[in-house]
């Protein structure tokens, strides 16, 4: 056996992860000294930690593309783009959490630490260029999210959501692992670049082990991004989880899984492209259809957004299928856009949560916009953006995804996507109709939280800003695509 070469690693590659991990350890210690009624201090500490991490991301950016740890971690623009997305997502999630977890009666300090640990996991995942680090990052992220999903310990729905998410998540990890092992067995390496080189040099195109490996990897990743037919966990987990965590996991883990998916399939397995494109084509089409059609029948708004999220996973897969620079850039852009519209919509739901009132049924929104015109308008902006109509960010995001699919000549897929956007018009506008036309109801007083209303207005402003002046964001996404 060849001895393992150990060289001194370039720590700059994982600087943001190190900074954030150290900060979270500090937060866990500090939490012990914070009295029970002042746990909001943890939220402030978390925001400071995220700000410091953001600074470190920009520091690393000036080093260009660097990789270290035996080529198992890589810090390039692609990874740093996603790391910034996660920092924004986590900051928004912390802002909408502070009041909400107090109302739910789970105002404990570890909430923020676990949330930030999952961000560390996502950062590892987007930097990973080795199957081992991909697996580690994915589990680090997922394990933290399982805990957060079940965070309302006294609520049986939260427990149930966590159990379902946990069992199916662990099962999907098993599938991904078996796919990785077969890949390792055929190519003799776990490094994505070595795998790509081996496959390019040897003809393994129709090797049955390779095909099995691709199928297993796709099924595992489809679980993580909640695409049909592996989507069953998503509505239950979204509904039962604390709403602030639903907002977080509708964006963060999805973006991180898409990043890992792009790295594994576009960097390591370009040779197998005809195989995986065929499967992803079906997954994408059926996700768009099932997600959007089933969303029509929902009465719980968190569940409806879960199904619409399944549909959105289908749209985003179009960019992966196209596999061009344009396709990858459109995935990055859509992930950026999706943060603001999804977290924005969920924070409006949190506004309606009071002690004793759940506020997550669509009928709870009756007359909401007539009572609170400006907040109602924000919700309308999020809904329009989720449908994908101008002048919002959702339109720009979808436009680029469809354009990438058409450019790569996947016309049918683009047609299905447009048709399903029309279906989505129906159920999103149902909410808008409830807000604007239905009678006002009792008990719609809002949670008095400035942080929460700030997030709603901020997300609405960002959604409009990206929709009207998309140039800077598009060029940022184009600059961050993988070298393919």
């Amino acid at each position: 056996m060849t001895p393992i070469q150990i060289t001194y690693p370039n720590m700059m590659v994982i600087l943001p992860e190190v900074v954030l991990s150290c900060w979270v350890f500090f937060m866990m210690m500090a939490d012990l000294f914070i009295p029970k009624e002042k746990k909001e201090i943890n939220a402030v500490l978390g925001l400071i930690g995220l700000a410091v991490t953001a600074v470190s991301v920009f520091m690393v950016l000036s080093y260009g593309d660097i990789s270290s740890f035996n080529d198992s971690m890589r810090s390039d623009r692609f990874a740093l783009f996603f790391k910034l997305l996660f920092i924004i997502t986590a900051a928004l999630a912390i802002l909408i959490s502070a009041k909400y977890i107090a109302i739910e009666g789970v105002n404990w300090g570890e909430y923020y630490s676990i949330l930030l640990f999952s961000v560390v996991g996502m950062m590892v995942l987007v930097s990973a260029t080795d199957l081992v680090t991909v697996y580690l990052g994915m589990e680090f992220m997922a394990l933290s999210i399982y805990v957060l999903t079940g965070f309302i310990r006294h609520d049986v729905r939260s427990n149930e959501a966590a159990l379902k998410y946990f069992l199916l998540g662990a099962f999907s990890s098993g599938l991904i692992l078996y796919g990785m092992v077969l890949l390792y067995g055929v190519t003799g390496s776990t490094n994505v670049y070595k795998i790509a080189n081996f496959l390019a040099a040897n003809d393994n195109y129709s090797n049955p082990l390779m095909i099995a490996s691709v199928i297993l990897l796709i099924s595992g990743f489809a679980f993580k991004i909640a695409a049909v037919p592996f989507h069953m966990w998503a509505p239950d987990a979204y509904e039962g989880a604390p709403t602030s965590i639903t907002a977080f996991m509708s964006v963060g883990p999805k973006a991180a899984s898409f990043a890992a998916l792009l790295r594994v399939f576009l960097v390591a397995l370009p040779v197998m492209k005809p195989h995986w494109v065929a499967i992803f084509w079906g997954v994408s089409a059926i996700s768009m259809v099932v997600g959007n059609v089933v969303a029509v029948a929902q009465t719980n708004i968190k569940r409806m957004l879960a199904y619409s999220g399944i549909g959105h996973a289908g749209y985003i897969l179009m960019g992966v299928i196209a596999g061009t620079r344009m396709g990858v850039a459109s995935v990055l852009l859509y992930m950026l856009v999706y943060i603001f519209m999804s977290i924005g919509a969920f924070s409006v739901i949190i506004l309606l949560r009071k002690t004793g009132v759940k506020g997550d049924e669509i009928k709870d929104f009756s007359g909401f916009a007539r009572r609170y015109p400006s907040l109602g308008l924000c919700m309308l902006i999020f809904l329009i953006s989720l449908i994908g109509l101008p002048p919002t960010a959702g339109f720009i995001g979808k436009l680029y995804l469809f354009a990438a699919a058409v450019e790569a000549e996947y016309y049918y897929l683009a047609v299905i996507g447009v048709l399903m956007s029309v279906v989505s018009l129906f159920y999103y506008m149902q909410v808008a109709k409830t807000m604007y036309i239905d009678e006002e109801i009792e008990g719609q007083e809002l949670v008095p939280s400035r942080a929460l209303t700030f997030v709603v207005y901020f997300c609405a402003a960002a959604t409009l800003l990206i929709g009207m002046f998309p140039d800077g964001f598009i060029s940022a996404a184009m600059a961050a695509v993988l070298p393919i």
Partner: protein, 100 residues
């Protein structure tokens, strides 16, 4: 002579038993045990491949999987305990508050 194929076939059978266990068993703990069986099937193949390919990567990978599986067991059992406190069952057919 035990060859690589033997290990791979055994590993595939174990993985299959685990996957079927996840799909047909109804007790959450047994489902979780089946998932662990799948992970161990993966470990078996990794070690077999590592020996065959003369590379250490596979064995290093096994250590990571075992570590993560231990953390996963801790979290999974904690979730089951908190569910059991509220509901007094771990039968997944009865864990159905939320349904489409």
């Amino acid at each position: 002579m035990v060859t690589l194929e033997h290990y791979l076939v055994l590993s595939a059978i174990l993985f299959g038993i685990g996957a079927i266990g996840v799909l047909v068993r109804r007790n959450a703990i047994i489902i979780f045990m089946s998932i662990e069986l799948m992970l161990n099937a993966v470990n078996l193949s990794l070690v077999a491949f590592s020996r065959q390919l003369n590379s250490m990567d596979g064995q290093v990978f096994v250590f990571f999987i075992m570590t993560v599986a231990a953390a996963e067991a801790a979290i999974g059992l904690a979730i089951m305990v908190s569910l059991f406190r509220n509901k007094e069952t771990l039968n997944v057919d009865e864990i159905n508050l939320m349904k489409w």
